[in-house]
Symmetry: D2
Subunit: 210 residues, 4 copies
Amino acid sequence: MGDNDIYAKQGFGNSSGFGQHPALIIVDFVNGFDDPDMFGGGNIHSAILHTRTLLAAARRHHIAICFTRVVYADDQSDAGVFCLKAPSLRTLTESARASQIVSELEPREGELVLRKTQPSAFHETGLTSWLTHKGIDTVVIAGCTTSGCVRATAIDSMSRNFLTVVVTDCVGDRALAPHEANLFDIQQKYADLLDSEKTIAHFSGKRDHA
Amino acid sequence: MGDNDIYAKQGFGNSSGFGQHPALIIVDFVNGFDDPDMFGGGNIHSAILHTRTLLAAARRHHIAICFTRVVYADDQSDAGVFCLKAPSLRTLTESARASQIVSELEPREGELVLRKTQPSAFHETGLTSWLTHKGIDTVVIAGCTTSGCVRATAIDSMSRNFLTVVVTDCVGDRALAPHEANLFDIQQKYADLLDSEKTIAHFSGKRDHA
Amino acid sequence: MGDNDIYAKQGFGNSSGFGQHPALIIVDFVNGFDDPDMFGGGNIHSAILHTRTLLAAARRHHIAICFTRVVYADDQSDAGVFCLKAPSLRTLTESARASQIVSELEPREGELVLRKTQPSAFHETGLTSWLTHKGIDTVVIAGCTTSGCVRATAIDSMSRNFLTVVVTDCVGDRALAPHEANLFDIQQKYADLLDSEKTIAHFSGKRDHA
Amino acid sequence: MGDNDIYAKQGFGNSSGFGQHPALIIVDFVNGFDDPDMFGGGNIHSAILHTRTLLAAARRHHIAICFTRVVYADDQSDAGVFCLKAPSLRTLTESARASQIVSELEPREGELVLRKTQPSAFHETGLTSWLTHKGIDTVVIAGCTTSGCVRATAIDSMSRNFLTVVVTDCVGDRALAPHEANLFDIQQKYADLLDSEKTIAHFSGKRDHA
């Protein structure tokens, strides 16, 4: 019996659906994760290029948009256990080139830019409250890495009862086996998987959001 | 270049270490996850048997111990998106046999039993505060499933700056490929992997905790 | 210059308003807080009687309803610093008469009953996620005590970006000076104050919620 | 029967004590709250002057130190319900003079400076994780206002099971009646009240912290 069959037999892998009020969360598409010599590689750059189209559509349809960056204090006063597991994260300080959002996806006025120090975009950030303020019911996730901050964000989004969608061609990882393994887990338990074309169709089918 | 090499080159996969004040968290070892006809199978039962030894050692060394159960209200008033992805979770109510901790690991007076409705043992539970009250610096995780609640608990534990250890022979999954894939991710980014023998050596090397 | 003038001059005390999707949260109206020989007294019983009418209106208009109880484990394994400040809280165990919701306000099937160990109804409970699942934008608070769990719940509700309303005749305190002082603070900074009559008018002006 | 008698009879107002590993949290002592024409007045400036001595002692004894600032994004993308109740908070942007910590208390390298948008220093910030990383058991609070961010921080600190101390002469409010009323509530339920002299004695009686 294959893994898919085991999960299906136990009742996992159902769709949670797409609601009326989506927001787009773009996780950690910063220079350092677009650079194979830092934290990048694999299919991350390709995911950035697809996200350009997704972002343009989200703007056209007035979807609420949030970007995240990993940012540690210059004096590392907020570095913790994550920086023991992966010490090079400490280079991601406020003004470092590596922690700036990639030029392909530059945020515009009124779009939320969240600083975070941990994998999940929700952890010790204002994301939940911002989503509540906007009346959001569906969190659409692009970004990197699939096996890291995307997965952690998807778990937290679902755990907070947002309908959650991970956009398959807009998430990437430095290594493809973890990318695939995490999409499997995400689809079985936490979020629906949609490609950017289907996601954009959902955006356009919705009425505009103030 | 293999996945391990990519991660090593980028500075992942370091050890975060084992502190002076560990607690043992046993995640969701309840009847329903020990039953292949419900949510069980794979190497879960074997992990329960190994956890028996780990738990006995923890008790002998006066380590703080916490168990989690998945419990939904009888009237399902607290069922949310997780129950859309996996509707059979709804059967895990307070008095259901499936939601009781397995007899091999019965909790004793003074050991914390947490009810949860989401993957992470930390999400909307009193776990963080209990760990603070006990002065814990290291969270040792046993339980199931590796690709589900164990992984989510490990991310949250690390994100809250607890040194985190996942006990390799005391965690299990209904399917082995996700088990292995998630141990890889956990080791690279969130927690140290130790087997139960090495974990017990850490317990016994520590002085007792009140 | 009076306190009201100082706050007005500095721009506090504005109305945040009443949204389209309210929920009613009834905080800690349990037997022990209705008993002047335990944690009760002052205007708490009167607030319970007014809440009867508010609750009936909420049910008539299909408003989402949540009750909270303070509940500690029988073996006190989850008692912490709050129980150092106020040790008698430890008597509020699952089956204790003192921790049961007063008979005047008995919860019905489908209404959420949350157990908590700390002042705020939001702290380490599923309240935020439940509100998100229901699409709530406005949290209406009744309960006790005004200077304790009501105030803490109002701060957390506002901090999570829910429009927040405290129902003046449906909250009470064992002592009247703290009741008044806390209504002042709440109105200046966290929530709007409405009496039950005006709140019910808001309920009835809204369309029903599924 | 006076308020103190009612609370004493019901078992409130006990001391929670001072632990072995304190941290000092200085809440919102920024220019805007030191200016009676903005958010200041009352006894806030006096509290800043007393905090100078407390901070010097904390540094001498190598106590972990954290400052908070209220900071909203330049484009107000993170302004929510708090800014409906008090719209002038929106002026507290990253580079505004009003949101800079007062010159009397300038942070040094290695001391944590947290940005927040809500009353509590714990709400959606990295404070809890930082305290865990440092092994802190006792949170010592100075800052302003007593009836606002100090009170909210004290509730959250106690709710997270940190022994909590509010330093009476190092907290201030724009208006004295709320200052006094909130010290009463804090002492009864959340934290111990100590003056700066007694607090410093606790600092000096402890061994240094790395």
